[in-house]
Every structure is written in structure tokens, then in C-alpha cells.
Symmetry: C2
Subunit: 346 residues, 2 copies
């Protein structure tokens, strides 16, 4: 390859020369050091403005050994929940003059390994890991390099690693009580892929919610999905084939619920007339569909800010396990839920 060198923009030395000071002084002015005379500072600032000079953060990063970048590893950009989270995460980072390095795993272990490697390569200062399906070995390198990690929905913290726990328990409890008040007794659940920790957490939360409402748990009314439309669709079809149909269904997330509604539409089962449906997450699309989806909403803004807070705490205390922060959620009532129909077989 020939010269890959790009025409250099101005640097501190240029500014220094033009202002008749040293580059150290320029640096001080830029960083607001009180050690500079206002008169000198003013002169430097004028030159900076004239040149449209912007300091090169690459050099600063190299110097400091930190990149001012946080990694975000997500499974899937096509589930709107993640872009909506990214939006808030990004927003919070821009505030503190950081960047986000995004990696998607597409739920593949090898992609996760690649993503982790990218994080190491780019020297991120911390990682938020929303890809639930990892075995610990693939993120081992992050620990080795002592990079602060925040997981989501693992409910487990270790040294150098905090966790953000979405309060499914509280969310499903609200939903089940609400359904019970509407007369529902047979409530189904469409969960996430088997084998994922977060799927287990959600299912357990559902069971706890039933118990809390003094409703019996019926394993025949539980299906697994895949956090996407297809899974919810298939699971609902299977539920409809049940001899004793449920009158309401809770789901692991909104896409699952939307898939379920698609299946109901195809099977000409009116929602909420014959079946009430409740999602989880509160993605914006839940307002777009007909009927609008009742859902358990979790604030992405709160989540994003909690991630940053947790990262800070891990950094501040590397020797102890990271914090475990619980995130509230709220039942949002829309049109996909209604009174239980008169039960036919009784």
C-alpha cells in the first residue's frame, strides 16, 4: 500500500505557535486548568476558534489508556426493544462525551466470541452485555483484562461484574392480578427459548405471580417461544389446540405477544373477546397494532442510566462484586385485554 497518510488537520502545536505559547499551555486552556492567565487563555481560545481546532481524542485515549467507549452487546437489532434501548444508552453516553461500540451476536456463540474480541481490540472501558445466551467461557477474556461488565437479567454478580435485573416478578404480578379481576382463571404463558437463564427467570416470575394471586399453575398452559414473532405465533397455535383453552396469555416479550396475536387473527379468535393478550417490554409498536397491545413496560431510559451507574460502581470498587440493580416495570392497559368470556365447558 502506498501512503495511507491523510492530510493532517491542525494540532496543538499549530495552535501554540500561532498563539505564541507552548502546546502545554494550549492543553491547559482546553482542559480548563486554572493555572493559565485569563489573558493568555483568551488568546489561545481565539486561535482555536479561528482554526476550528478540535483536539484529537485518539491521542488522549492513547495517552490515558482508556478509550471513552463503552461496548454494548445485544442479540438482535431487529427486536425493537434493543434499538430503543440503544437510543437511550447512546443519549446518556453522549452526555458524558463517550461513545458506544455496538455488537450484535444474532444469538450465535461464535458471534459472541467475535464481539468480545472486538471489545478488547477497541479497548472499551466497560461492556453492557444483553446477550443472555452466553456460556461464561466466551466472556472470560473480559474478566482477564479487568474490563467492567454489566449483565442484564442474570441475577448474579461477581467481582468486576454487576447486573441489571428487570423486575419480572412485580410486572407479572400486576398483570395476573389485573386478569384475575377481569374474571380470568386459565392464564397461559409463552416464554422464551429454553435453556436461557432469562427465560427461566421469566417463567419463575410468572409462576410466582399465579401463586401470589392464588391461581393454580397448569403446565399444560405453558409454551416456549423465541422472543420473536414466529415463536409467539407457533406457541399460540399450539395453545389453541388445547382441549381446554386459556382465556388469557402472558408472554415473555412484546414480539412474542404480537406473534400470538397474529395466530389468533388467523384462527379467527377475537382479541380481547375470546382471548386477552399481554406483552412485555413496551416497545413502541405495541401502539401501532390493532388492537393495541396491553403490555408490561420497562423504561429504557432508566435501564440505560442504571447500566452506566452500575459500570461506575464496578469501576470504583473492582475488588467487590458489582451492584445488582432492580428495574421497575409498569402495566400499561390497552385494548388487547378484557373480561373473561363466559366459559363454555362449565
Amino acid at each position: 500500500m502506498a501512503s495511507l497518510k491523510v492530510p493532517a488537520t491542525h494540532n496543538m502545536r499549530t495552535v501554540a505557535r500561532l498563539a505564541g505559547v507552548s502546546s502545554a499551555t494550549v492543553s491547559r486552556v482546553i482542559n480548563g486548568s486554572p493555572l493559565v492567565t485569563e489573558k493568555t487563555a483568551e488568546r489561545v481560545r481565539r486561535v482555536i476558534a479561528e482554526l476550528n481546532f478540535i483536539p484529537n481524542p485518539l491521542a488522549t485515549s492513547l495517552k490515558y489508556g482508556r478509550s471513552n467507549t463503552y461496548g454494548l452487546i445485544i442479540p438482535d437489532l431487529t427486536n425493537p426493544f434493543y434499538p430503543e434501548f440503544l437510543l437511550e444508552f447512546e443519549r446518556a453516553l453522549v452526555e458524558i462525551d463517550h461513545e458506544v461500540l455496538l455488537a450484535t451476536t444474532e444469538s450465535s456463540p461464535s458471534q459472541l466470541t467475535r464481539s468480545v474480541r472486538r471489545m478488547l481490540t477497541r479497548r472499551v472501558d466497560g461492556v453492557v452485555l444483553m446477550a443472555s445466551e452466553f456460556d461464561t467461557r466466551s466472556i472470560e477474556p473480559l474478566f482477564e483484562r479487568r474490563i467492567p461488565i454489566i449483565t442484564v437479567d442474570r441475577r448474579r454478580t461477581v467481582r468486576g461484574c454487576g447486573d441489571i435485573a428487570i423486575d419480572f416478578e412485580s410486572g407479572y404480578k400486576q398483570a395476573v392480578l389485573y386478569l384475575k379481576n377481569l374474571g380470568h382463571r386459565n392464564i397461559a404463558f409463552i416464554g422464551g427459548n429454553e435453556g436461557l437463564r432469562t427465560s427461566q427467570v421469566r417463567l419463575n416470575a410468572f409462576r410466582a405471580a399465579l401463586k401470589h394471586a392464588s391461581l393454580p399453575f397448569n403446565p399444560n398452559l405453558v409454551r416456549v417461544g423465541d422472543y420473536r414473532l414466529a415463536g409467539g405465533d407457533a406457541a399460540m397455535q399450539s395453545l389453541l389446540a388445547q382441549p381446554r383453552r386459556p382465556t388469557a396469555v402472558l408472554t415473555a416479550n412484546d414480539l412474542t405477544a404480537m406473534g400470538a396475536m397474529r395466530a389468533l387473527y388467523a384462527a379467527h379468535v377475537p382479541v380481547p373477546g375470546q382471548m386477552s393478550v399481554i406483552g412485555f417490554d413496551g416497545i413502541m409498536m405495541t401502539e401501532a397494532i390493532q388492537p393495541a397491545l396491553t403490555t408490561i413496560s420497562v423504561s429504557r431510559q432508566v435501564m440505560a442510566q442504571s447500566c452506566l451507574k452500575a459500570l461506575d460502581r464496578v469501576k470504583a470498587n473492582r475488588s467487590k462484586p458489582g451492584p445488582l440493580i432492580r428495574i421497575d416495570c409498569a402495566l400499561v392497559l390497552r385494548q388487547s385485554t378484557g373480561p373473561s368470556p363466559k366459559r363454555r365447558n362449565e
Copy 2:
């Protein structure tokens, strides 16, 4: 602030020392220079593997003056089209070992200015600008620093700036002919915000499509939207208030169409029984709603790759106007379109 310095990881000197060579040789090995004995190279590689050494790209970037990062400026991460594009863009960049720096403008001029500044600050090697609503002044700094730019839907190229043109003309033509064959004669159009160049392009394409199908253009059947649900919803309500209702509607994008369908649902107008609806973009959600949306789809993968191709061409030829690349689109038939109903007032 105390020591911001982070415990350094290994560097080339460490590797060099352990392998008994100079850091120059390590660099050569890593970059596959043919000037190194296989024996030496092997020794170096072994040490690299043992240490899990990963070269610091920050240093390389500093040295070369390029960051291996491309900027992507989009208006809105909540329109699924953009994350779906981002996914493909990211994927293409990872292939060539680059990163994407994402900025969202939320359709605000001041946010655009901020975003542009971030691009400059982070020394991106090029920018893809999908935020249509800019006045040229806000991106002036990019030109000044001679950063390659690719716009989308401006249909205009200048020195240092290429454009990706989605072929609305062809897309709307397909859609209008299809509707005409179904017996539709009164076809409405819900466009984008007024004042945006891309909105004008879309409206013109719609008119051209009518003309091409020998159908008259009726200004009373045109509304503006905002590329989001709310705009499509409101516009459709307004269309329904028309004395002579259209039997089909084309829209500027899928969210607009989905908003329109929401309004139709609320007004108890059956789709496609009384009204056929066609979207644009082909976002995944169009498969999730009921009835599934007929839409004009454009491949994000092709778009993403075209952006990179265009960036390369701009870089290769800074003195000439950048390329203008046209992107095909395809009509995807689903359930939101059907034969025109018997017209009542005739």
C-alpha cells in the same frame, strides 16, 4: 482527578522482548510483511498467542491519521427502518474491520450540528447522512475537512459527496399498476413532512406513477404525514372525511401506512375490503400486523453495501463529484391490498 491511567496491557515491546526481537519485527509479523524469516515469525507468533496480545488500534489510528470508523447519521432510531439498515451497515463494516459511529438527530437541526461535530471530533473516515432535513450549512464542516460524504435521497452529488437514490419512481409505478389492475381508480397518497427534499422526491414519483398508468392526479387525495404512525393516522382520518373517498392509498413509508391502518381500524373501514393500503420500506413489522401490509421493499443490505462502495469511490476521486447510485425496490404483496370495492356514488 487522581491517576486516570489504566493498568496497561501488553504492547509490542513486551512481545518483542519475550521473542528476542525488536518491536519493528513484531509489527512486521503482525502486518504480514514478507521481510521476516519464517522461523522468527513463528517465534513471534507464539509469544503473541501466549500473551493473548492484541495490538492497540488507537496507536495505529493516531499514526495514520485515520480512525477506521465511519459515521452514520440518522434521524430516528425508533423507525425500524434505521436499525434494520444499521444492522447491515455494521455487518459490512465489521467485515473490513471498521467501526460505525452512530448519531441520531431526532430531526432537530441543532442535534445535526452536534452530530456533525462528533464526527469531526472522532476523526471518522467518512459519513453516511440519512438525515434528510439538513440545510447545507450544518454539514459544511465535513466538506471543509474533506471528509467523504454519502447522502441518501438527495439526488444530487458534488465534489466529495455521493448519493444513494432509492428508486421510488419504479416502486410507485409497480404499486400503481398493481392497484389499477385491481380496479382502483382513486388512489390517495400520504407523503412525508413538507419541506423535505425526500418528501418532494416521493410525491413526484407518485405523480409520475399515476401518469405512467394513465390515471389522473387528484390533489385532494394527497396528504402530508411525518414518516411516523401519528402522521399516517391523522392523514388517513382526513382522507376519510373526503366526500369522495379513495379506495386505495400509497404512503411515504411503512410507519405512515401502519398509522393509516390504525385510523382505518378505528373508523371501522375494512382493509382491504373498503381500502387497500401500501407501505414503503419493507420493515419487518409489516409482517407482524393484521392484515399484513403490502409494501414496496428496499434491501437494506444493498443500501449498506452501496454506501460503502460510494464512499470508496469518493475517496478514490476527491476532485470529481461522487457517484449517484440507484437502489431498486420491489413490490411485496400481502393482505392489505385487494380488489376495488364497487363504487357507491356512481
